[in-house]
Amino acid sequence: MQTIRRRNTFSNLTTAIPWDNIIPWVMPAALILLWQVLAQIGVINSRILPAPTEVVQAAIRLTLSGELFKHVTISAWRAVVGFLIGGSIGLFFGVLNGVSRPAELLADSSIQMVRNIPHLAMIPLVILWFGIGDEARIFLVALGVLFPIYVNTFYGIRAIDPGLIEMGRVYGLNRRQLFSQIILPGALPSMLVGLRYALGNMWLTLIVAETIAASSGIGYMAMNAREFMQTDVVVVAILLYALLGKLADSSVRWLEKVTIAWHPSQNLK
């Protein structure tokens, strides 16, 4: 293997300072700085957008009062429960229809029909069914999570190279071995793509469900703050959602690094 050396007079510097890790943060930092300056000299009204420092202060205030923790835990609980319910249903049918042609014939077209209904359009109906309790929100989250998991599991299994499955026959694998040694590892990259979409959908659904009808959670905190014109708290809530979304995404990336390092989507070494 050849190593490529950068022609750089500051080559000693480039090896000492990890520029590649620093450069992506330059733009966001500059934007926040600009925002702070504009807010302080009064160009941006703090009713419209409070300064970053005010947002941080609001976050600290909410943390100290315990309010933030309460809302985040209840939101996270709804997200996790909804995800587990919808995710396991999607996984179950994805695997079943993926490996069994009769099951696919029976269930796939029905699932595809339901999938084409935007799940947020079901909110009025869901409120009629469950009222505005946690059941309604968990139901919506489960619905939002189910389909990405289902579709990507199903197609992940179907897209496996038939030559590899035939190798399983050559080695006399039984159905269970075939599944664990060829089908599951082969479908895993696609399943993780599904997981990532599902987690995105999970937060999105929860935000909408919590802002429309709730008496707790991050979404409620934001809507409540809006009534009292606490723009800083609204911004804290939005940033919280961004943070939680990023956290979910990073954990899937980590999972990919650990489980599918062999896949072309991953950089080796």
Binding site: D161, G163, L164, E166, M167, R169, V170, Y171, P185, H263
Partner: protein, 249 residues
């Protein structure tokens, strides 16, 4: 000993792929099946591999009818068919799960040496070139110590230089343990370099048109006069007249 007795194969769509194939192959013999596309040569190989079943007749290994992939038969396909999530060594051990760990490792080292890939034991398939991947596929087939190797156009996806190299390499491997080799190819030169006997099949339906014993000493020179003469004869047997299909219809 491999016997193919009166094998017919009709596909579900009614197409008659093979008709009345009779063939006996001695242990250690190198036999090539050649023919234009649609002559049923791959189907015949897949029947011997236990991956397809004849409509009529049977294929037998050591007196037993083949009903499933045989543990003493190694298979090599046109594509390497390596599990992309396993390292080279793990791929080779895929068919050895029943053996003790140490035996698996020892055998893996042995076959990796044979295909000159010792340094790539921990590599992933995506890090290999086409020729290297195919060598891993050969190693994986050899590791079960088969008495017969079935090869379905094993080198046709490779560039000309790599192909020649691997043909010679296959002969080296064969010279060591003399496994029976049954090879499907559409490359006349490949068949001539490798085989003791060449079976020419013709399509619609697939039948044996001719058997040709090749008695040239090994290693064979691809440029010798005798080699060229046989090549010409084989090409004649293959019936490659352009446009013939159109005339017949």
């Amino acid at each position: 000993m491999l016997y193919i007795e009166n094998v017919h194969k009709q596909f579900d769509n009614g197409l008659l792929a093979l008709e009345g194939i009779d063939l006996a192959i001695k242990p250690g013999e190198v036999v090539s099946l050649v023919g234009t596309s649609g002559c049923g040569k791959s189907t015949l190989l897949r029947i011997v591999a236990g991956l397809e079943f004849p409509t009529l007749g049977a294929a037998l290994i050591d007196g037993e009818v083949i009903t499933a992939p045989h543990p003493k038969v190694g298979l090599i396909f046109q594509e390497a068919r390596l599990m992309p999530w396993l390292t080279v060594a793990e791929n080779i051990q895929f068919g050895l799960k029943d053996l003790p760990r140490l035996e698996q490792q020892w055998r893996t080292e042995q076959v990796l040496q044979k295909v000159h890939l010792t340094n790539f034991a921990e590599a992933l398939p995506r890090q290999l070139s086409g020729g290297m991947a195919q060598r891993v596929a050969i190693a994986r087939a050899l590791v079960t110590q088969p008495s017969m190797l079935l090869l379905d156009e094993p080198f046709s996806a490779l560039d000309a230089f790599t192909r020649t190299q691997l043909q010679d390499h296959l002969l080296d491997i064969w010279a060591e343990d003399h496994p029976t080799l049954l090879l499907v190819t559409h490359d006349v030169e490949e068949a001539l370099v490798l085989s003791d006997r060449i079976i020419v099949l013709r399509p619609h339906p697939g039948r044996i048109h001719r058997e040709l014993a090749i008695e040239l000493p090994r290693p064979r020179r691809r440029t010798s006069l005798e080699f060229q003469r046989l090549k010409e004869q084989l090409i004649g047997d293959l019936d490659l007249t352009p446009g013939l299909d159109l005339v017949k219809r």
